[in-house]
Amino acid sequence: MQTAHTVEHAHAHDTHEEHHHHEETFLTKYIFSQDHKMIGKQFLITGIFWGIVGGLLSVLFRLQLGWPNETFPFLETFLGKWAEGGKISNEFYYALVTMHGTILVFFVLTGGLSGTFANLLIPYQIGARDMASPFINMLSYWFFLAAGVVMLFSFFVQTGPASGGWTAYPPLNGLRDTSVNLGSGIGFDLWILGMSLFIVSALLGGLNYVATVLNMRTKGMTMMKLPLTVWALMFTAVIGILSFPALLAGAVLLEFDRLLDTSFYLNNIIINGQLLGYKGGSPILFQHLFWFLGHPEVYIIILPAMGLVSEVLSVHSRKPIFGYKAMVLSIIAILVLSFIVWAHHMFVTGLNPNLGAIFTLFTLLIAIPSAIKVFNWIGTIWRGKVRLSSAALFAIGFVSMFITGGLTGIALGNSAIDIQLHDTMFVVAHFHIVMGVAAFFGMFAGVYHWFPRMYGKYMNETLGQIHFYITLVGAYAIFFPMHFMTGLPRRYYTYANFETFNNFDSLAAFISVAAIIVFLGQLVFVVNFFYSIFKGRELKGEKKADGYEYANPWGSTTMEWTAPIDRLHGNWPNEIPAVHRWPYDFNVNGKEFIQQTEPLKPGETEHS
């Protein structure tokens, strides 16, 4: 229905260009928008909000980790009972790390990243007027927002938000007993509710993205002419559709255990010498369900970043992406393998050792497509003509981070080595670099690159580059030395109780200082983003016969820049242009670049 409506609306544009046949109010344009571009911006701004919250939580627990013996009186002013005497309580510390993980993994790097760029780029780059179902797309955002509101609300309940780790393992989170785990009261019920709403949002969005890419490409846009961004975003959605339901099922059963006293995950629980009535469940079952999403989830986070970076690197290097087909095939290989590596999070749970061996095999295999991608990115820069703008810098930073973080995965994925490394700070360093920082770099590259498409203005380059260097140097300062804390268990409030772990005080303080600086550095981005929306340098282009102004600020070949600077409902005022060539014709046929919509010259063969 909605599709028909959009197409109709677009036709109206075809005939009466200046005449808007239905009035848009503030409410329909900015709030209950069904326009993919606006929904993308809604996801982005909500994601930025969550990024600030999630980052702030990490600053708070870094204060504890960096200076475990100090007190910070201002903390009591803001946090009250959670930081009596200016010292964060151990219970609140665990709430902070739990919510930091939940917020950044799901609300920023899944919702904020996929939500933003799938919405913005899929219709634009495939040449569609909007998503397959704009209404479902709107619902996807509203479920995302509702999920966030529930999560935010959980900070303000008496027993605090969830505090049993973002992985939500039972029995710690399976007993609704706040003496076992303070955050396992109403705070965790809200966590489950919030996550359930989030999963609904991800599924509604994902189905829409896949349907749109498969059905709504413009004339001539065959699959092998799609930019890598679209490939990456579509397969991200496929992974989400196949894996999120497992987490939803797992979470619902967990809530049954908590509220209805079922025993899906609980067996022979003894609290203070009292045997509780749970019988026959398995806490390990939850881990399987969780990581069946949880591992594909890291690819849900990193694939969109890979897609954005491939595009940004190619455009700013003025050179085709190296090995387009290999890039597509490696995304597919990652997609398939991402579903059969989950138990590498469970090597030391008492899993059958034969399974451990199999999962080592698949886990290390996934390094191969990842390596191909890295070599191809480096190959793309090689002999390019690289315009080192903020977007390109962040894309290069992404590759650097992905290499560093990805390589340590080879150590962790090997079960025999993982016995020692599992659940230590080495893991924290690994995944923060490879899926946290790297994904953020990809996201920033995308925001700087496509900001003119979103707002018709540029972001400030100087601030962008300051932001880049603070983040690059700072993120390495935080996470590189953290690898040497191999052996120190993660999620420790203090290491003071252990002779073995108590030797890294000055390093911990150094990391905390770096973390605070990086957090402030991200505010440079936030300021730049909102300042540029209103006061940024205008994107200027040329006015064409149809009265619209067109611009292609980076000299891209892709479809999104064939639409006017104005973000029209329906994207193109006239007929949607047809596509004739692949998206990477840079410096070929004597031209600096050739847009996808330009027909082949007589005698020119299609790139294959």
Partner: protein, 367 residues
């Protein structure tokens, strides 16, 4: 007040930064009417090259400063092997890290647009792509094979020594319950039901099983050098993880599901101290104890799975000794059964009460 003032200062700094950046951007656009990236590309090319050098210098400095502080060498048979594997892996990835980062940042510098060249249309090269697919595949196959071999050896039940020790460790919030099998080498049965589990018998030990009569509880884990030990692991309330960093041992403790880990300690606590006394960092004085660090070295047991608010406090000492020292220690331990066995009238009262009983009782309830 200080907090408020620093907040104001930060806000002002941001405002100044925005103004400068805006002015800078305007000046760049002013010349041509369009943003000219040539100058910025040149500067950023040098900065990226500079970053590459700083990154490697920082990595080298981290190695020099932090490696001596790390958890020392493995004190178990399999740990030596997995450490070797870890070192091989780190060496390989170190080389790849170096080469790829150099290529990435050097190319970004060398081919930035300020150098006045044209880009080279070079969409793919199948030979090259096959090469850089096959090389990682071969290297990874080697690592997978070595890893699987060690892994299967660690968990090979058939290869276990018949004369191994058995120790049972059960995690609870927030402590470890350590049970030794006593002279018979066999742990008494446990029955998990409402009649056996009680605050004074939280493990649910079946006292009617004679094997339980010589079992004793301990506050430290005593192990024998070169004697294989099977750790029988469990948890009462939530997940815990039995982690012996020095022995490269880690295994989750799961309520309702028994797990185990078999390993052989190879260095006594004393031997490890002697070894560390030759290491420069361990010779430095710890300001907290006022002693050289190696003198207070001890093996420790930690919890490695988030188990609640005092997760970070689940510490127990592990002591590795010779067989003779171990036997002497065992002979001093009182069987837990002593405190619960039915009292007979002819038994002298003084033996039952007294300090032993209170001690064992205290251990059982872990107060």
């Amino acid at each position: 007040m200080v907090a408020f003032l620093s907040f104001v200062v930060i806000v002002l700094l941001f405002a100044v930064l925005v103004l400068i950046a805006r002015a800078n951007e305007l000046s760049l656009v002013l010349k041509t009417g369009k943003m000219d990236f040539t100058g910025q590309s040149r500067v950023n090319g040098y900065l990226l090259l500079g970053f590459l050098i700083v990154m490697f210098a920082g990595s080298a400095y981290s190695f020099k400063e932090l490696v001596p502080v790390m958890v020392p060498k493995a004190a178990s048979e399999h740990g030596v092997k997995t450490d070797q594997l870890f070192n091989i892996t780190m060496l390989i990835i170190g080389v790849v890290f170096f080469l790829t980062q150099v290529a990435l940042f050097y190319f970004a510098y060398r081919y930035n647009e300020s150098r006045g060249h044209e880009s080279y249309f070079y969409p793919h090269n199948n030979t090259l792509e096959v090469v850089w697919t096959v090389i990682p595949a071969v290297v990874l196959t080697g690592l997978i094979a070595m890893g699987m071999y060690e892994w299967m050896k660690i968990f090979n039940v058939e290869a276990r020594d018949k004369n191994m020790m058995v120790v049972e460790v059960t995690g609870k919030q927030f402590n470890w319950i350590i049970r030794y099998p006593g002279k018979d080498g066999k742990l008494g049965d446990r029955i998990i039901d409402a009649t056996h589990i009680s605050p004074t018998n939280e493990l649910g030990i079946n006292w009617e099983d004679a094997k339980s009569h010589d079992d004793f509880m301990a506050d430290k884990i005593y192990l024998v050098k070169n004697k294989p030990v099977l750790m029988k692991l469990g948890a009462q309330d939530v997940l815990h993880s039995f982690y012996l960093p020095h022995f490269r041992v880690k295994m989750d403790c799961v309520p309702g599901i028994p797990t185990e880990f078999y390993f052989t300690p190879t260095m006594t606590t004393k031997e490890m101290q002697d070894y560390l006394s030759t290491e420069p960092w361990w010779q430095t004085v710890n300001p907290e104890t006022g002693e050289q660090r190696w003198k207070t070295f001890k093996y420790e047991l930690a919890c490695a799975e988030l188990c609640g608010k005092s997760h970070y406090g689940m510490q127990k000492e592990v002591v590795v000794v010779s067989q003779a020292e171990y036997d002497a220690w065992v002979s001093q331990q009182a069987a837990a059964y002593e405190s619960v066995k039915p009292k007979t009238t002819d038994e002298p009262k003084a033996e039952v009460t007294g300090t032993t009983e209170t001690k064992v009782q205290a251990m059982l309830t872990n107060k």
